[in-house]
Subunit: 482 residues, 2 copies
């Protein structure tokens, strides 16, 4: 793979990670082990699920985490850190454990998707970068998944680089979109770095550069007879674009034994224009010529175009995918869940006026529970040292209705977090991007109820607890209240 | 300055830049000079202006633009480019001219904020990166300017890194926010790279790590007696946070001869809590203790908090600034405006069904027109070789109402675009970030009508045309129609 990112990204952190770390250092607390969970509270766009993405870049960040001479000099200039702390930072390497869902795992609110168990400072210093990667890539992967679903099997490509929030957003956004299911990207570097199929044909400037549209189309067809896709909306789609495209098919391509691959419409009423265009192409015998549409598309406009009978074979999706325009923030947070004292991990809970903001305390394990047909019926949180035996009926607590007596019968379970780092060493074999993408597809098809995938009022995935875990949480809440 | 970005960003481009360039190369058209304008059509959030930002990173991109061996190898694998074109790319350096508004210039829709006059391929290859930088940084600078305005002189800091769309969005987003007027950032690398003041104190994890809130506050105050800002909402702001903060001020800081600098509230009803907190602090004699508020703030929530009498001295603004959440897309476009044929630049126009999408053709100059008081009354587009003499009444055309007879009287004008690159050489001395920020401030205070700055239904800045330019555009439209 192309060595793209030689940057030292260590300092992409909030300043308070450093003021706190310095505080812990001064208090001689730096080796106390703690646990932090990453979780989020709401699926974007009112959806029923999200896709976990960005783990590969988190691994890269942690492996490379080091403060270079410039960084130390800069921190010294702030005049609030003493030399022994700066010296400590200079030699700092991450030495903690990290557990996470495999990249591409379908995830739901309030469950720990990533857990760090590490010395206090190690856990604190990685907070910002971990959240930033999870938030950005999960956001775009989830949005892509929704858009691909709306397209009902038609191809979807990422055209968004120019509206991305700077370089990384274009490059890693394309990666996340591919994980979420798009078929390709226009961003060349994302193709080069990750092997994502790249594509692209012509802009309006190509058409406007030449004296007239026919000439512009002709030049293009002569250069790319095997993949001619003509942009037909520079002047007038139906009066000029389509007739010229048909002439090119007949006069330029057919004599070479080639077929016109497609036309692209980038403005106007895409439903109306695509239907008219389809009719004109078909009448000219170009039934195999594809129609590509682009221009401010997302899951809502694509659904609407298909509802209206739009004859579109392929969608180019730009700004609304790459910025997740309708909901550009994925709100994953990083909360301390346990502190090791005298050899024991004491659970910590964050209470809040808002009940939904109360955290799930302690070291824990998360399981996905499947019924006999292989569908995921719930996720289950248990204590980290609990045995979960699903070979017989297993009692669980639904924390939304804890009085109900519920059991899992004839179910199987899978632990969702896997070890990524142990004592700072990478112990995880990373899957390829293709494997991650295939894993997403498989879960959506085989494991996730369609009811969780619909856009309107989707089924809410259950997050249940073992009785022991639920009791521990309740006890802690009573205690904090006093 | 820290050498951060050793990445080769060249390939952050849409694939069609390369397919078109190859086409032009094959047609022997690569040296034909053309002009492209960057402009946008709508200010974000229904505002009356935007701030041009990102020029420094555009300059860096263009200066470093080169295809390395990996890039060439990757393009070869695509099997659609011939060796002579790949060889051409391998030796490619940008050789064109670039003109732009100085960074930080207030800008308005439909005027060329950046113009490239260059050989065809040179102009095409930079499109994606130019747009991406303008779109991202102008978006965040403009949002920051609105938020700072809403804060009415209170300090505003960027806390957004963890919700940014990956690394660059955090780092360059903080830069853009600083241009737009925020006072500082929490993102350490942005401080290190750009000299932006950084700040940050503690997270909830600090408070939760210790046995109780008082102990946590005490440890912090002992470590940072000169800048103690305590996060008071981990358990209960009024019952626990404020009382503990007051005890710290009395029991820990005052014996050291120090004052409590501030408290931060990060959840709950910020208006109510800040008023109550202010009262409690004042009654304890801590009238100089500042109140910092954070949690999903933007210009709307800040305006509302101030309207409600919230007693907040300083705002920490995160996701809604760094993603410009209410409008996360800045829609600048890149359109061909002229092609040089037989020594003359022929204007090109993009017509459209939507009248507002018709482009302004030809090589042109843009002036900002000031009245006697120094206020900017309009922007004016003229042909590039026209003399604009404002020492006497100057007739202009308002294209929205071209029948009106209008003149500028007693006005002065300033050409807005300045040369940045000439024949590929940088001819521009870049201002410092502080200078850019001061320039924004000065324009907002001295040049721009407050009527253009209000959030609701702002005055629409006039974009007028010289009679010659207007006639040329009309002629071209008649011609294209035929």
């Amino acid at each position: 793979m192309k060595q793209f990112d030689k940057r030292n990204l260590t300092m992409v952190m909030d300043f308070y990670e450093l003021t706190m770390s310095n505080g812990y250092f001064r208090e001689q607390d730096r080796d106390t082990r703690v646990a932090f969970d990453v979780f989020y509270r709401k699926n974007p766009d009112g959806g029923g699920y999200s896709i976990f993405a960005g783990l590969e870049q988190i691994i890269e960040y942690i492996q490379d985490l080091h403060f270079d001479d410039d960084d130390i000099a800069y921190l010294r200039e702030q005049k609030i850190f003493e030399e022994d702390f700066l010296e400590y930072l200079r030699n700092f390497r991450f030495e903690g454990d990290l557990y996470a869902f495999p990249e591409g795992t379908i995830m739901y609110p309030n469950e720990p998707i990533l857990t760090i168990v590490a010395p206090l400072i190690d856990a604190q210093l990685v907070e910002t970068a971990v959240l930033l990667q999870v938030n950005h890539q999960s956001l775009v992967a989830t949005k892509a998944s929704r858009i691909v679903r709306a397209a009902q099997g038609r191809a979807v490509s990422d055209f968004g680089a120019r509206r991305a929030h700077n370089m990384d957003a274009a490059v890693y956004g394309a990666r996340a979109a591919y994980i979420g299911g798009v078929n390709g990207t226009a961003t060349v570097l994302s193709g080069e770095m990750f092997g994502i199929p790249v594509g692209g044909t012509m802009a309006h400037s190509w058409v406007m550069y030449y004296e007239d549209e026919y000439t512009a189309f002709k030049k293009y067809a002569e250069t790319y007879p095997d993949g001619t896709v003509l942009l037909i909306d520079t002047y007038d789609v139906l009066k000029s674009g389509v007739p010229n495209a048909i002439r090119i098919a007949k006069e330029v391509l057919e004599p070479m034994g080639k077929r016109l691959k497609g036309v692209r419409i980038d403005s106007g009423d895409l439903a109306y224009l695509s239907k008219k265009t389809r009719k004109m192409l078909d009448e000219a015998g170009l039934t195999d010529c594809q129609i590509v549409a682009s221009n401010s598309l997302d899951e809502y406009t694509i659904s609407s175009l298909i509802d209206q009978g739009g004859r579109i074979d392929s969608f180019g999706v730009g700004e609304r995918l790459i910025t997740s325009k309708s909901e550009p923030v994925f709100g994953a947070v990083y909360k301390i869940s346990a502190v090791k004292r005298d050899g024991v991990y004491q659970p910590r809970i964050k209470v809040s006026e808002n009940v939904e903001k109360i955290t799930n305390p302690g070291l824990k394990k998360v399981y996905r529970i499947y019924d006999e047909t292989g569908k995921a019926v719930a996720d289950l949180i248990g204590k980290y040292d609990e045995e979960i035996d699903l070979t017989k009926p297993f009692r669980y607590v639904d924390p939304v209705a804890p009085w109900r007596q519920r059991t899992f019968d004839n179910c199987t379970g899978k632990e969702l977090q896997v070890p990524i780092f142990k004592d700072g060493k990478l112990v995880y074999k990373q899957p390829s991007l293709e494997e991650i993408r295939a894993y997403v597809k498989e879960q959506m098809k085989e494991e996730m109820w369609p009811e969780e995938q619909r856009f309107e009022n989707p089924h809410v995935h259950y997050l249940d607890m073992t009785p022991d875990y639920y009791d521990m949480k309740m006890e802690l809440l009573y205690e904090v209240q006093k």
